[in-house]
């Protein structure tokens, strides 16, 4: 057997190690959503308070759709004040925040809204149809929809003030 052939054995492990080195660095929750760049799926939900929320009626505005749940601790508890602040800062600039409460009990959802004094529209998604339509696989997940009704970004995990501003500001600037 030729001597160089012996090197083939350890060399064969190199691509496997490279694949593992890559795979273990990737966050398994960062699965790219195929919906980014596509029109946002339409929905119409009965809000906890106030009139029904229909995405169609919000065309022309920048819409931030946030999927949350009262059992999603701590991420949803961290982001709720940031979403409320973002809504307060941008609501005069054609921005609407819509909260969709998924896989939750109504009472727990209402308590969450009351505790955080959320003033943007929030609605339960009892059969999970809207969350599946948006390819949601956990909470919190947030979709940023432009004035033309197209999903422009998806954020997985708690939204911070910085994330809100960085995602919303360019969409507001678009006319």
């Amino acid at each position: 057997m030729k001597r160089w052939l012996v090197w083939l054995i350890p060399l064969a492990a190199v691509p496997v190690l490279a694949l593992l080195a890559y795979g273990f660095r990737v966050n398994p929750r960062d699965v790219p959503s195929p919906l980014v760049g596509r029109p946002a799926p339409a929905f119409r939900l009965e809000a906890y308070d106030g009139p029904p929320v229909a995405l169609e009626a919000l065309r022309g505005k920048v819409v931030v759709v946030n999927f949350w749940a009262s059992w999603c601790y701590p991420a949803c508890y961290e982001e709720a004040p940031a979403l409320e602040r973002g809504w307060g800062a941008y609501r005069d600039r054609d921005v609407v925040v819509v909260g969709v409460d998924i896989q939750d009990k109504r009472e727990a959802g209402r308590k969450f809204i009351k505790d955080f004094r959320l003033s943007f529209p929030n609605a339960p998604d009892p059969a999970g149809k809207v969350s599946i339509d948006y390819g949601v696989y956990g909470v919190p997940e947030t979709f940023f929809i432009d004035r033309a009704g197209r999903i422009r970004a998806k954020h997985v995990g708690a939204v911070t003030d910085e994330v809100f501003r960085a995602r919303v500001e360019p969409l507001v600037a678009e006319k």
């Binding site: 057997m1 195929p34 919906l35 059969a127 999970g128 599946i132 949601v136 696989y137 956990g138």
Partner: protein, 159 residues
Amino acid sequence: MRSRDLVAVVLLVAALAFFVWSARAQTPAASVDEQDLHEIAARLRCVVCQNLSVADSPSEMATQMRGVIRERLAAGDRPEQVVQYFVDKYGEWILLSPRRQGFTLLVWVVPAVAALGGVVLAGWLIVRWSRRREPRPSPPGPAVDPAMSERIRREMESS
């Protein structure tokens, strides 16, 4: 009388066909094939679980996904269309078995090719190694002095 029999058979078949067709047309949504539902659910990844299919998971998310599958089947979607709906929403990640086409075909082909290559390589090496073990004609040793060999012979006999 034979032609009358033929007419009767044709009419009977036509009536049966119409009956079956109208029954299907009237109730496209009434019954969802549970087998179809289970097969679709088994092909989809439960998105909140670790390595569980939508069919196997007791989670609320999987329950809701099964509800959506049922609704789409009831609306007349074919199983392939239902699966495609989930792929459109979640990407091919949602499929527990990668598709046997495009880039993910590699996942199916590479292990088979590698295994075949390994078998071929092992066979080739075994053949090579076993050949090397064959007795080779030993090189002629140093010539022995005739006097010495005569002495060895004598001592062997005398002992």
